[in-house]
Assembly symmetry: C2
Homo-oligomer: 156 residues x 2
Amino acid sequence: MTLPPAAQRAFEDYPVGLKVVSKTHTVTEKEILEFAKEFDPQWFHIDPARAAASDFGGLIASGWHTCAMCMRLFFNEFLPEAGALSPGVDELRWRALVRPGDVIHVEVTVQDARITQSRPGRGVVSTYIEVINQRGDVAMSFKAANFILTRAAIGG
Amino acid sequence: MTLPPAAQRAFEDYPVGLKVVSKTHTVTEKEILEFAKEFDPQWFHIDPARAAASDFGGLIASGWHTCAMCMRLFFNEFLPEAGALSPGVDELRWRALVRPGDVIHVEVTVQDARITQSRPGRGVVSTYIEVINQRGDVAMSFKAANFILTRAAIGG
């Protein structure tokens, strides 16, 4: 199964079992440092020398940076152009370290999809999302929900 | 209860019931746009005119940006300088929109604190974290866990 182009994506395009595999993103030291200096300045995210001399064996990305990179890949390849608000996320786990040079991609599986009676014109799509590195390790996983407009609501 | 300076903070400084209230951060349109263009380019995060003409009534921050801003406040006022890795987060909820001009702060409450037998020298501190705006609305909340070194381990 594949999704139509982003401009045409509507609730009906996200059946249970749909699995989408994103393109890859190569993580750079520069972006790890930039994100961490602004938002998460723990030494193992911002000090390459100290990180290299520690048990970490080098710089690691902030877990929130991994979330942000995941969102970019998820947006590009899964979400409709009309947008999709989310009420939240569950069971977010940082499972393997993310380092400069890692090549990550996102795999999204639809676990539930239902129209909400209370709010016609949109449905809730529940997903399991994994960020996977070049060795096949799952670096991060979580469950998300997104409100997605129906085909009728987007006028498609 | 208050925490000692970041350099002295150890597991023993985080008893159950400890509540820490951060300083404030004023959210700007510039930073909402910068974050969203890089990581979450949905139109209600990156297009002020379209957002103003919509039901949103103006630009709103990416939920992942709210996480990142929360981490910065949490780092500054709660975490030890020695750092604190986290295995993950649960029940992350985006509960109120975050807009330019909002003045947010973070409130952190320790819900559990225990030494892990499997890994001497550190404990797990479990917290409930809220991002609160200038009207007292909870914009975001979640539960987190952090590994924090004991006083003996940091040599304090």
